[in-house]
């Protein structure tokens, strides 16, 4: 399955890119994040992040679909 992953703020700095196409065998969002965390050395455990699929917040248990655009959202600091 192929998904697009978007990176923001310190996750983008750590990944070195704004987004990437990922070919993954992960069965869920947690497993996908764990794999990307291991590859890029992200500081945040999944518990400190929210996750969005196709520009909408979803629960970590939401299904992983081929072609989805996924973003792991580190703690926000607007305002």
């Amino acid at each position: 399955m192929k998904v697009t992953v978007l990176y923001f703020a310190s996750l983008r700095d750590a990944a070195g890119c704004e987004s990437e196409q990922v070919e993954t065998a992960a069965t869920g969002l947690r497993e996908l994040y764990a794999a990307l965390r291991a590859r890029h050395g992200f500081a945040f455990p999944a518990e400190r992040l929210r996750v969005a699929v196709d520009a909408a917040f979803v629960g970590w248990d939401a299904p992983l679909r081929d072609g989805a655009e996924i973003a792991f959202i580190p703690p926000v600091s607007g305002g």
């Binding site: 520009a55 703690p75 305002g79």
Partner: protein, 139 residues
């Protein structure tokens, strides 16, 4: 009308405020967040906001829609800057009109709190000592 928007350049509050007023609105409460010269005692040189624009706009709109349902208000809007900001520049504006001041104040405060907590926007600060970094608050 969209109630929440991102602005990639300085914006004028006056026409936004005007758009909230009508004869039912006896009260207007506004909030402005500006770039301070220090953060937790550390002198700040400049600041940059980045957003996940599509999600920020959707989540911001959701917050404003919720405010319209939760509070007895006439109208509400919020604009948040993205990009590079200088010291003193306006970072976020919230405006709420209502029949009475209780609802205007309560909704205005609730909106800025929710925007800060929920909208995917991140602050990148450069300090006078040369250090720079993203802010990812613990709570």
């Amino acid at each position: 009308m969209k109630r929440f928007s991102l602005a990639d350049a300085p914006f004028d509050i006056a026409p936004l405020r005007e758009s909230l007023l009508d004869h039912r609105a006896g009260a207007y409460a506004g909030f402005e967040g500006r770039v301070r010269d220090r953060n937790e005692g550390r002198p700040v040189d400049s600041l940059r906001y980045e957003a996940y624009a599509a999600l920020a706009e959707a989540e911001g709109e959701r917050i404003l829609d919720e405010a319209m349902r939760r509070f007895d208000i006439v109208q509400a809007r919020c604009v948040h800057r993205v990009g590079d900001l200088a010291l003193g520049e306006l970072a976020v504006w919230v405006g709420v009109s209502a029949g009475h001041r209780d609802a205007a104040f309560a909704a205005c405060r609730w909106i800025i709190d929710e925007v800060k907590a929920r909208v995917p926007i991140w602050k990148h600060e450069r300090y006078a000592d040369g250090v720079a970094g993203w802010l990812h608050p613990d709570t």
